[in-house]
């Protein structure tokens, strides 16, 4: 469960990223967080992976108060919260297999586990045949699937996807959303940060709408309410 209690984020001197937000996300939910530029979506995403600390309020992930997280505990959090970004963040000199295995290597996973898990997650994202290709040899959608595979290797309870379809065409967008739904069906909580109206409306899942750093709407089977 993810719980945000009266969370505010103020950037000096007095720019409000988030204003007194309180939200609860249950395990296994698929939640879209929408809002226009500057609404606070990315700030919220950064707070959830402890890349920033809230100015006020409390954030708990699975009962773990990450507001007071220590620097040395952050790697543990990042293994529990998989992250997918719009700009992929793949290593261009590593193959697909190496990019995915890298996440396990740096976490100190035994070699045998890396050999077992990497093909499994590549199969989940449908790239088992392209393990030896380099990122530049893949389409945008395929690259994003590699990123998702990399985020899954630690079997995270939560997958945070910050504008994962921002650089993709309609077909690849559909593929990625289907993949996220598939992962969600396995029980992983998905937090999708997006401003893609079609995606949100097609999902028919919970939608939290942010505006000016505040929760403007929170609907169980919501739609994209904001003007284009």
């Amino acid at each position: 469960m993810i719980t945000l209690e009266n969370v505010s984020k103020i950037y000096p001197p007095d720019v409000h990223g988030l204003r007194d937000i309180s939200v609860t996300i249950d395990p296994g939910e698929f939640v879209s967080i929408v809002g226009q530029s500057g609404a606070g979506k990315t700030t919220l995403a950064r707070l959830l992976i402890a890349e920033e600390r809230p100015t006020r309020g409390k954030i708990e992930i699975g009962g773990w108060d990450i507001t007071r997280i220590r620097s040395r505990q952050i790697p543990e959090l990042r293994r529990q919260v998989g992250v997918v970004f719009q700009d992929f963040k793949l290593l261009p000199k590593k193959t697909v297999w190496e990019n995915v295995a890298f996440a396990l290597e740096v976490a100190g996973a035994p070699t045998k586990r890396i050999r077992d898990v990497t093909p499994q997650v590549l199969k989940i994202v449908g790239l088992e045949e392209k393990g030896q290709r380099f990122p530049h040899q893949l389409s945008g959608g395929e690259q994003q699937r590699v990123v998702i595979a990399r985020a899954l290797v630690h079997r995270p309870k939560i997958l945070l996807a910050d504008e994962p379809t921002g650089n993709l065409d309609t077909i690849n967008t559909r593929d990625i959303i289907d993949l996220l739904l598939k992962i969600n069906a396995f029980g992983t909580t998905i937090v999708l940060v997006t401003h893609n109206r079609e995606v949100v409306n097609a999902l028919r899942r919970r939608v939290i709408t942010l505006a000016n750093g505040q929760v403007a709407a929170d609907h169980k089977e919501g739609k994209y309410l904001l003007p284009s």
Partner: protein, 306 residues
């Protein structure tokens, strides 16, 4: 986290980092080699200066010439008395016959002296004592001790060449050299630290993307840091090996010239480096290791902030 696996990965990443930034690494090695060479020149010169002082100090002695016909009992009493002083390293008594023999050998190639000597019907030389003190500062005391009334009356003359000026000059040169060398080493140490720090920073800058991904997927700070520290240690080790090779080559090359310069005496340079090899290796290697570790650790720190 299994230590062997993690260590293997850290070393593997460090080696890849080094290979990717080979030119920066080699430039850093070059500067560290210069720094190490300056240290070794300093300690080598210092060792030679000490050796020169020792050689000069060894040459200091007092020669005491006794009057002709001085009884053996007096000579032996003088030898016994002087040898018993704690300031004396050794005393050699030369009989008149030994003195004459030594004189003949010394002037064997000079026919005029040999002819003049042959014309004399008796040995013109008396007995002599050669006294070596333990320390150059002891000689004034030993000269006073020779005034002992039990044998002082039998002394015809004394020669004392203290080489004081030469010893003082060598010491001054040594001290100046050490001071200049220490400044040089300090300057090189500061430059080396700055260059190592910046080389690691450049290496990190080229790999900031990889560091970002490592952090993103849950690598610990120490796992991100360690490859850069180990890379610094690779650089330090390479610099140490190269400078050791250069020093060994230079010492072997200049030793014969130095022997000539030291008038046939061993200048002690090779003996110094061979005798102190492990101490020097530990001191220089240890300092270098600390230098690169601290530099690398600090340089990576900037990229580990959340």
């Amino acid at each position: 986290m299994p230590i062997a696996t993690t260590t293997g990965r850290v070393i593997s990443y460090a080696w890849k980092n080094f290979a990717r930034n080979a030119w920066i690494g080699l430039a850093t090695v070059f500067v560290l080699v210069l720094a190490l060479l300056s240290v070794n020149v300093l300690v080598g010169v210092s060792a030679m200066m000490d050796r020169a002082v020792t050689i000069l100090e060894d040459k200091v002695d007092i020669s005491v010439f006794f009057k002709q016909g001085t009884p053996d009992a007096i000579l032996q009493q003088a030898q016994f008395f002087m040898a018993g002083l704690p300031q004396v390293a050794n005393v050699t008594l030369n009989t008149p016959e030994q003195a004459l023999e030594a004189f003949k050998q010394l002037h064997a190639t000079d026919p005029k002296i040999m002819e003049a000597l042959a014309e004399l019907d008796q040995n013109p030389l008396g007995a002599s004592l050669v006294i070596k003190g333990k320390h150059p500062d002891d000689y004034p005391f030993l000269l006073e001790a020779l005034k002992n009334p039990q044998f002082g009356f039998a002394i015809e003359s004394k020669t004392y060449d203290d080489h004081a000026d030469a010893i003082s000059r060598v010491r001054d040169i040594g001290n100046s050299g050490r001071l200049f060398g220490a400044i040089l080493v300090a300057v090189f140490a500061i430059f080396s630290a700055m260059i190592v720090y910046n080389a690691i920073r450049v290496a990190i800058y080229t790999q900031r993307e990889e560091i970002g991904v490592m952090r993103l997927v849950g690598a610990s700070s120490s796992f991100v840091r360690m490859p850069f520290v180990v890379e610094g240690l690779f650089i330090a080790l390479l610099a140490l090996l190269i400078s050791a090779g250069i020093v060994a080559g230079i010492v072997a090359g200049i030793q014969p010239q130095l022997v000539q310069f030291f008038d046939g005496a061993d200048p002690g340079l090779r003996a110094f480096f061979v005798g102190n090899f492990w101490q020097l290796l530990a001191a220089e290697g240890g300092t270098l290791a600390v230098l690169v570790t601290v530099s690398s650790w600090a340089a990576v720190g900037k990229y580990l902030k959340r």
